[in-house]
């Protein structure tokens, strides 16, 4: 038990990083406190909202059977699924990809103790989910039943409830993780492509099919046609003997599953660490490339090998692709919609709206705001090379443009053909999104150079949560929308010329920002 506590404490330190608060420098402490307060505030607001709503809904029911049927059962099923899927995604990582297990195996500690310590916080997460979804319905159910004893038992059962979905999730997660590791080892870009396809499919579904899905009727169908009474909640949270039996079965199954995971843990962990890469061929290529091209190629390879980086910065391209597909399939609907907007905004020629839509979408594909920080610890080696900051920034800027320009070209050609654009319209559809992308890219690079962070531990931080990430997206969207608003409202009478002028202004801004970047190049 003592060792278990020590391991739990270590795990807590890893997850919550509270040592930063006690031993970090002033800057780190400040950042930690800021993040801590933001998280507490978010949890507080979301929790209050959830519990408030749940309370109101629960008060609508007057019969305990209704609470069980319409709330505890479906919410129990939902909690079960959330716990299962979060364990599937997180549990395998906690157990099998954490390199600290190497050193833990060398300690005189039983494997089961290591496994329990590693999944303890996952279990805690499961308990939080169960509490969030079930505590209020169960309390209301107990009050309506006038049975305090069963109420207490039901509350205790919340702590048993997450065991099975969590352990099943961990076991399934291992199978999934093993497959992904094998794919990743055979080809480094496969994972990124897979994520990209999933993102595209998700967006495609959300845009084209989600609106047609009637969640209300699905919910009713589940409640009426599928008998879930004995699936989850109905077994655990009733005042019948079955509930106690279910808890005992859950505890026994949980113990069996824990033993199963522990027995295989060491073997599976080591198998995953062993390099399973197939013997590579000895076809060695020594082709010489220009310095800038080599730096650019390195950026592309890095981008494709980090799925989180890719899917967080590809939104604009994905949206634009969806827009192009939809415009090609349902051109009349899009035309009608744009005509409606142009009437509302009093725009004489609705064709101009296509270039605006493209511009606002493409601005969301921006890799430059994380592109300097992403060098991280590699920065020192890069600085030892005879590469000037100008060459480095050029390669990074070209990399940004190489992601957006082909997409802009493709979209312009397809939209141009679909809507029979003339050369004037064609050119604006190309030049305006290009100017937006050029401006956003330069702005991102500039802000990243101004506020670099080379000490990141998790790439998510620089891609999603850093100052450059947030400020670049907000600023570029604000400026983009602001510019278009100005064109429509102030220069509506000569909208085409004004759009071309805005494109020129954005190019000029981009150029000025790049020139100014040289002055702060010492930050790299």
């Amino acid at each position: 038990m003592k060792i278990f506590k020590i391991l739990i404490f270590k795990q807590a330190q890893e997850i919550f990083k509270f040592n930063t608060l006690f031993y970090g420098d002033k800057k780190e402490k400040k950042r930690y406190l800021l993040i801590f307060c933001a998280v507490v505030l978010c949890i507080g607001v979301c929790g209050t909202y959830l519990f408030g709503n749940m309370y109101q809904v629960c008060m609508e029911f007057e019969k305990p059977q209704e609470i069980l049927e319409y709330l505890i059962n479906p919410l129990g099923l939902l909690a079960f699924l959330i716990i299962f899927f979060s364990s599937l995604l997180k549990g395998s990582g906690m157990l099998y990809s954490d390199r600290s297990s190497d050193i833990l195996f060398s300690y005189p500690v039983k494997t089961i103790c290591i496994v329990l310590a590693k999944i303890f916080f996952l279990y805690l997460w499961g308990v939080i989910i169960s509490l969030a979804f079930l505590i209020i319905p169960i309390l209301r159910y107990t009050i309506l039943l006038h049975s305090i004893l069963f109420g207490i038992l039901d509350c205790l059962q919340i702590f048993i409830f997450p065991i099975i979905p969590m352990l099943l999730g961990v076991i399934s997660g291992y199978i999934l993780y093993k497959q992904i590791v094998n794919i990743y080892k055979s080809q480094v870009f496969v994972r990124s492509i897979l994520y990209m396809v999933i993102l595209f499919a998700f967006m495609f579904f959300m845009f084209f099919f989600f609106g047609k899905v009637d969640l209300n009727s699905i919910y009713r169908h589940i409640l009426t046609k599928v008998d879930i009474t004995y699936l989850v909640g109905g077994v655990f949270f009733t005042y019948k003997v079955g509930a106690a039996l279910a808890s005992v079965v859950a505890l026994i199954s949980g113990t069996v599953l824990i033993i199963y995971i522990s027995k295989n843990y060491k073997k599976r962990y080591i198998n995953l660490q062993i390099n399973q890469q197939k013997g590579s061929s000895l076809n060695l290529s020594f082709k010489k490339n220009r310095k800038i091209y080599s730096l650019w190629k390195r950026e592309i390879k890095r981008y494709l090998s980090i799925p989180i980086y890719l899917i967080n910065t590809m939104l604009g391209n994905v949206l634009l692709l969806l827009f192009v597909i939809y415009s090609s399939i349902a051109s009349e609907k899009v035309t009608a919609y744009f005509n409606l907007i142009s009437e509302l905004l009093e725009i004489q020629d609705p064709m101009v709206l296509y270039s605006y839509a493209m511009s606002l979408m493409i601005i969301l594909t921006n890799v430059s705001y994380a592109n300097i920080s992403i060098e991280g610890k590699n920065r020192e080696v890069l600085k030892s090379f005879p590469v000037s900051i100008k060459e480095l920034l050029t390669a990074k800027y070209l990399f940004h443009l190489s992601l957006t320009v082909p997409m802009i070209c493709l979209a312009t050609i397809i939209l141009g053909i679909t809507y029979h654009m003339n050369s004037y319209e064609y050119f604006l559809c190309f030049i305006l999104p290009l100017s937006f992308s050029a401006f956003a890219g330069a702005l991102g690079l500039f802000i990243n150079l101004l506020f670099p962070n080379y000490e990141w531990e998790n790439i998510i931080y620089i891609v999603k949560q850093s100052i450059p990430a947030i400020s670049t997206i907000c600023l570029s969207c604000l400026i983009g929308v602001g510019m278009i608003w100005c064109i429509i409202k102030i220069f509506g009478h000569s909208i085409w010329s004004a759009s071309y002028i805005v494109a020129c202004i954005l190019f000029a801004f981009a150029f000025l920002i790049i020139q100014f970047m040289k002055k702060i190049s010492n930050n790299f």
Binding site: Q277, F286, V381
Partner: protein, 236 residues
Amino acid sequence: MLEIRNLTKTYPNGKQAVKNLSITIEDGDLYGFIGKNGAGKTTTLKACLTIHDFDSGDILLNGISIKSNPIECKKRMAYVPDSPVLETYLTGLQYLNFVCDIYDVSTHTRKNKIIELSERLGMKDKLNDLIGSYSHGMKQKISLIGALAHEPLLLILDEPFVGLDPEAFVELKLLMKELCNSGGSVLFSSHILDVVEKTCNKIAIIQNGQLLRCGEIREILGTSDLEDIFMELNRI
């Protein structure tokens, strides 16, 4: 070759890492740089490549100041850090080609050098593997091949022997000597005093950012060995 003149470096937290340090490395020198942890060795080496800025003093490579013309200086130098931080998403060969592109090495030269060095360091069969799958020692070897592939005049190594297998350990010593014999120079930091004593012709001992002793190893050692001298100097 390399002249470090009155180098002083203070970190933003106020810690003075290097104080008024001056060293001269001639052509053909195999220069050992030793000192305790936190003595200022890595800071000095990084300053030579402008990885770190410095507050005062200057560093000259063949008379060219690293401050005023860093790119020209770095074209003739190569650096291997203490822990090899490499691009894990590239294969060994892709990384080496990238380094060669940066140093503008011709196809013919890079082919010969990469094949020769990878054979000597036992990495030829691993060149098409991802760096992410390499062990620490293999990463170190790839770093060394990258550093030597463009035939630098000055090779700067920070703890180069850490993680190397015995064969590569011996090969690296030979490679350093070969570079010095061909007119180049090597400056490396190490805690393995025995290696420094046996391979270097000059050494510098540093403590708390200040130079304690530097010059020809024979003159510094006299009849004692480096271990005794080092312990004695650090006790003062």
